[in-house]
Symmetry: D2
Subunit: 267 residues, 4 copies
């Protein structure tokens, strides 16, 4: 049986519209923001900067999956409200993670795109739940998910009725520990071939090292990514989570310039 | 900070009592049953056989996490009722998986031990939810979880108020594809040292090949496992899931004899 | 102690000259050829095509490491002679693998660059031996080598007296089996930072699938690779080895055009 | 085509005789010694202890493969002479590693069993070379070798004329970094089924942690290993290599007692 997410079932690319942005249409989309929403003032300041820098979609975690029960796990609904405020001010859509099937409704009220994180890629009840809403879902590849499992996770959402799925390659777990994960460039390219869904790259989680983020992002775009999602923080060294992989403002601006140069050249 | 699950925090072994069975007391406990509860008649027949064969705890999936949305995903509440019936008839406690935080209450009504599957090892909202009940939880190691992440997942449950956690090593994902997963014997032994919680082995999922299950189980017991959990099916070739790794009756009886011989010798 | 291959020991990039080609100088170098030298006529035909297409260095295996003792293992010295003939005709330098310390001398007589294959990355006696000659060495990353181990393997060669080492990322072994290996883009970028040696990419072995080779190559170049090494075969379906990952002529020409367009744009 | 190492080609188990020891005959063989031969006095002292403790074959490295070119790489021929002296005094056979095809002859003069290390499992010229001699070869599984590749490496030796191959599972490389490698118990059991060659376990390299060695060794024996190879050092904290995984004398004596108890019970 051919999967609903397969190119063999539907050959023309799925384009996902969020406000006036079209993901999957050729131009790589830039999603950026801090790992977690840490407070209103800092988030709004950052949102304004990102808007200015050319970002098209804001990211920020309100519900944060954390390996340790004692780590900062996000501001919850308070964080959702800050995201909504940032959206209002900048006019940019926002993406944020949902971890619990019981939270799908409320997260859907505040966010434009719901993210399913790596650790929940095979949380099948959650996949079914986001399959019932009418909002785009950004589905991260699991820490150790094969391509096939990743596509089947997307199939859960599509089969439940929601075709608006964006796949996100964010590195897989291997023996190499210099980087946080191993960014699977070829896996991303294969996903672009096998499915009609948009596929983006998250070089921040993939590498875990800010000095590598920019070049990996550029490589992903050159290989055909429909977008990139990058962690940016005004003061990475003070971030409550993922500081080591967050770009500072000037680093991010440099990345944006490289991508724009690349895009203008390829067109 | 020392974790609550750590030997450094509490040196004496946690013993988990389920009816008259004590897990973690030295004698390896035998948990067995089919992958999924497929129907009342077949399950009760099997339960009687397993009781006869010396099994102490019955297993069987009512809610089945499946990689594909089109695979058999269990009988749900109907399956729970069959498990309860088997418990009534045999007097044996039952363990079954819970996948959704909204199902914790109902699964807890029917089962003696709630299982968190590999794919949900970092489903933190589910971990918190089973941390609020007063029933033992069998926590399987994630497909690609490090020892540290596995113990931190257990910490979520204990920190939420439920100390009755049984760890279960079920193989990790590696490049080796002859076996379904790679059984991490040394990881299991290390978990026995690092934590005061009981640690058992699941050689069925670890190997995915019935001809290897018995010897891997025996190796785990010899290395100190507090128990083993094995898939058994009256007619493995007809199983709706995991037939290839399920032991037929006579194979299982042979394994039980080996373990009994080993146990009598070590005491 | 800082390694001799480290940027901390010597910050300025090592540029390796082979005839009039300079590897590491900024412009990505194109190395191409069939997996194995299969015969004089076919190799010379291909060499002429590759020269025409813009290739700067020819590759071709005379001594082939093969997993099975019964697979085609190359033409040996006969293959070396064919390579030398191709070099004479096209004027292009050639790179070929050496597997045995006793063959270093003879391979060095025919080839311009000696390749150490993945399986021999920690063949320390072979590393020492190619460290004693005055020819560039192309050192492939091992199947499961960490960055650190890869750099230490290079250190063996440099410490033995030969500074002309080119590192080649060719994919690492992970659980993902859709691709032959997992191309480690971030690892390649990190190697470019950590060492002063040139670092190139081999998308053919990394992916094992010809339809992915071109985009992975382009991604590697965009991320900063000093060159790429690609398998090309006039009739991939007839290749004695690695046919599935070899580009046909027209596919290769398309890749060359993409890279040229990219290069002209970035300069 | 069936491999020469396959059970399908030859069903009856290959038994390898070294002096009066028979490897593969049912009784697990104990091989022990320090990682490296560090000097005559200390090695002879240890050899006497090991003989006394019940060891059947002595191990000790004279040529040591080391990740770094600056690490202690063994005493070379001087080390071989010390091994020969230990053999003379204790009457026990010795096993030692050979890394270079040019050294096969001289190592064969001093040692009873030649070891091919993990890093050389696919050093095909070395495999061919040890296939030409009339001495048993202990072939370690590669760091990231599949079962199939491991058996094909053995096939190189057998196909070259030497049927006396002992396979040694020593842990594979995975994402888990608490242990040095991941001991693949099921892979060892599968190798026992797939091939007629003896298969032993090396829990020292597999775990890299002395506190885990004993229980992993016992698990391997219970699962059917034809023997174990263990690193022992009179003062592990002073060892020039692998001190962290070497058993002290009293730890080793305890392990020997456990294995003897296990053996007497299973017979």
């Amino acid at each position: 049986m051919e999967l609903k997410v397969s190119r063999k079932k539907k050959n023309n690319k799925t384009i996902i519209k969020v406000k006036d942005i079209e993901i999957g249409k050729g131009e790589p989309v830039i999603i950026a923001g801090p790992c977690a929403v840490e407070g209103e003032e800092v988030y709004l300041e950052e949102a304004r900067f990102l808007k200015e820098a050319g970002v098209q979609i804001l990211r920020g975690g309100a519900f944060k999956p954390r390996t340790s029960p004692y780590a900062f796990s996000g501001l919850g609904v308070e964080g959702l409200k800050i995201l909504a405020r940032a959206r209002e001010i900048t006019g940019l859509p926002v993406v944020t993670e949902v971890m619990d099937p019981r939270d799908v409704e409320i997260v859907g009220e505040y966010a434009d795109i719901l993210q399913i994180g790596s650790r929940n890629m095979q949380n099948f009840t959650l996949l079914r739940e986001v399959g019932l809403i009418n909002k785009p879902v950004l589905l991260k590849r699991g820490l150790a998910a094969t391509l096939k499992e990743w596509l089947l996770a997307a199939e859960y959402i599509v089969d439940s009725g929601n075709e608006q799925v964006i796949l996100c390659e964010r590195g897989i777990r291997t023996f190499e520990d210099y980087t946080r994960n191993t960014f699977d460039l070829a896996g991303m390219v294969a996903a672009l071939d096998l499915t009609h869904l948009p596929v983006i790259a998250d070089p921040s989680h993939a590498t875990g090292r800010r000095e590598l983020v920019g070049r990996v992002a550029l490589g992903a775009v050159a290989a055909g990514a429909d977008g990139i999602m990058v962690e940016v923080h005004p003061r990475p060294e003070e971030a409550l989570s993922d500081g080591g992989q967050s770009l500072a403002y000037e680093e991010f601006q440099k990345l944006i310039r490289s991508i724009k140069r690349f895009k203008s050249q390829s067109s």
